[in-house]
C-alpha cells in the first residue's frame, strides 16, 4: 500500500513537470514551487552534514564541546586540555570567514563579507590558472604534435591551428589570416554539429526511464 501511495505521488509530480511542455499550468506551478522548496532544503541539510559538521565543528571540537555523543576530540580540546597546537586549529580561520560571510545581513558591517569572497575568488583564480594551463592547454597541445604522414593527422592539425586562429583577437580577420579563421569556424561548426548529434540518443533514454516509471512501475502496464 505504502509503495502505491509513494509511487502515485512521484507519478503526479512527473506528469506535472511534463505538462509544462503543453503550457504553463497550476500543476506545473505547484511542482515547480515544491521542487524549489524541497531542493533548497535538501542542499541546506546536505551542506550542514557534509561540510559544516565534519569539516568545521568536528575538526575544532565544537561537536564534543556541546556534549554530543561519540564526537571526536578536536583542536580546541587539544589546545585547552593538552596545551597542544593542533593543525586543525587552522579551521578556526575558516569559521571566522564563514561568520564574516553571514555578516552581510547587517547593513552596517555588511562590507566585511567581501573578505571571504576575496578569499574564494583568489583561490579559484589561482587553482584554475594552474589546472587549465596544465590539462587543457599543455596536454592538448602535446597530443596535437603529430607527424603529417596521414590524412587524419593533417586534418587534425589544420583544424586545431585554424580554430585557434578564429579566437585570435588582436588582428583583423582579413586576407589569408581571415581565410584561415574562416576554416576555423567551419571546424567549430562540424564540432558543434557532431557533439549535438552524438547526445541525441542518450537524451532519449532519459525520457524512456520516466515513461517506464509511469507505465511500468506505477501503472504496471509495461512488464
Amino acid at each position: 500500500m505504502d509503495s502505491v501511495f509513494s509511487h502515485t505521488i512521484a507519478a503526479i509530480l512527473t506528469i506535472g513537470i511534463i505538462s509544462f511542455l503543453y503550457k504553463d499550468n497550476p500543476l506545473y506551478k505547484f511542482c515547480e514551487s515544491l521542487f524549489i522548496g524541497v531542493s533548497a532544503g535538501y542542499w541546506f541539510v546536505q551542506q550542514y552534514y557534509a561540510n559544516l559538521l565534519p569539516k568545521l565543528f568536528d575538526n575544532l571540537g565544537i561537536t564534543k564541546l556541546v556534549g554530543a555523543e561519540n564526537a571526536p576530540e578536536g583542536a580546541l580540546q587539544a589546545l585547552f586540555l593538552e596545551g597542544r597546537l593542533d593543525d586543525n586549529l587552522l579551521y578556526l580561520i575558516a569559521g571566522v570567514l564563514g561568520v564574516m560571510m553571514l555578516l552581510r545581513l547587517s547593513p552596517k558591517i555588511g562590507w566585511i563579507a567581501r573578505w571571504p569572497l576575496a578569499f574564494t575568488v583568489g583561490s579559484s583564480a589561482g587553482l584554475y590558472f594552474i589546472t587549465y594551463f596544465q590539462s587543457n592547454a599543455m596536454s592538448q597541445l602535446e597530443h596535437t604534435i603529430l607527424p603529417l604522414n596521414s590524412f587524419n593527422n593533417l586534418v587534425l592539425i589544420v583544424g586545431t591551428v585554424t580554430g585557434i586562429i578564429y579566437f585570435y583577437f588582436s588582428k583583423e580577420h582579413k586576407g589569408v589570416f581571415g581565410g584561415a579563421a574562416k576554416v576555423g569556424i567551419y571546424f567549430l561548426m562540424i564540432t558543434f554539429g557532431a557533439s549535438f548529434g552524438y547526445t541525441v540518443m542518450s537524451r532519449m533514454s532519459l525520457l524512456i526511464g520516466r515513461i517506464d516509471f509511469l507505465f511500468g512501475t506505477w501503472l504496471g502496464l509495461v512488464k
Binding site: 524549489i36 531542493s39 583564480a125 599543455m138 604534435i145 603529430l146 586562429i165 583577437f169 557533439s195 549535438f196
Partner: protein, 406 residues
Amino acid sequence: MKAFSYSFTFYCLLGLILLATTDGLAQVESSDSLLSPLLPPSEVIAEDHPGDAGAAIIVRWKLSPDEDRGVTGYEIVRSTSPTGEFSSIGFAAAGSNRYVDANTEDSLTYYYKVLAIDVDKNVSESELSPPARSSPQWFNFHLLNLLIIGGLICGAVIYFIAHAKKGKKLFLRKIAGLEAVDEAIGRATEMGRPILFIPGILDMDDVQTIAAITILGRVAKTIAQYDTKLNVPTSRSIVMSTAMETVKEAYISAGRADAYSDDFVHYVTDEQFGYVAAVNGIMVRERPATCFYIGAFFAESLIMAETGNAIGAIQIAGTAMPAQLPFFVAACDYTLIGEELFAASAYLSGEPKQLGSLKGQDVGKIIAMSAIVIGALLETFFAISGSSFFGSLAELVHKLFSIVAS
C-alpha cells in the same frame, strides 16, 4: 652433484623438444616453472621520491628473467635495518619495475627487497637495496617546463597590460555577441519587458562564474540608464550576494542608485534542475524580451534556451563548457564561444589595461600554434628521413609540453 644438474638440464631440454613438437604449449610453461627455480628480480635501487613533500621513497628493480614464464607480480618488503625483520608494504603487477612507498618517515633509513611471485606461489627474493631516506624538496623539477611556458604567457599578458597603460591604441576584432548587447537591452526597454540574466549554475569558485558576474556588472551599468527591470535568479548563495553587490555598484556608478532594488537578484535553489524549473517558470510568466545565459552550464542549457526561444526572447549565451556550446549555438541568437566569454568582460569594460591582457592571450596562441606546427614538421621529417636529429628535436618539443609527472 654437478653431474646430476647437467643430466637434469639435458632431460629438461629433451622434454621441452618433445613437448614443443606435440601440442602442449601450456604444459611447457608449467613443467618449465616446475623444473628450474624462479629467478629473482635484480639491481634493486631505492631513493627519495623527487619533487614531493617527503614521506615517499621510490623503489626500482630489474625484472625477473622469468617474467614471461608465469610471474604474476612482485611483493615489496622493507625494514629499517638490513638485518631486521622485513614486512610487506605492497604489490606491483607483473611487468612493472617500480613501486612508490608513500608511507615513510623522513627521519628513518629504509632497506628494501623485491620478491617475485609466480603462478604456483613460488617466491624468490632479491638482494637488499642500498639504504634510502625520504626528504621534502622546495621545487618540483618535473614541472619546470610548465613554469617556463606559463611564465612566458604571464609575462606577455603583464607586458601588454603595461603597454596599454601608456595609451597605445590596440586593434581588437569584433565579437558579434557583444555588439548585440546594447541592441538587446534597447529592445527590452522598447517592449517594456524585463531582462533575464542567468549567471550559470556553479559557485563563485569557478572562473566562469567570476567572468559572468563581471559581465553582469557591465551589462547592469547599461541597463541602469534605462528604466528596464533586471531579473537575476541565482543557484548559489555566494553568487547571489556577489551579484547584488555588483549590480548595486553598477547602478551607483551610472548615477541611478534610486532605480536599484535588492529584488533584482534573488536566490532560488542549489539544485540544478530545481533552478531550471524556476527559470522556466519565470520565462513563461514574465516574458523577458532579452535573456543572457553567461557562465558555467550543464544539461540545463538547452532546456532554458529552448524555453527562451519559445517566448521569442533575444538570447545571448556564453560559456566555456565545451559540451554545452552546441546547444547554445543551436538555440540562441548569439553565443560567446569559450575564450570569447573571458574576453567579453575586458571588451565591455573598454579599459586599456583590460584590453591589453587580450593581446597577451594572443601571444599564448602564437606559442601554441608555432609549437604545433614546428613539432609536427619535426615529426614529419623524422618519419620521412628517420634521422635521429629530427627525432630528438621532436622529442624535445614533446617534452616541453609534456605534463606527465613522475
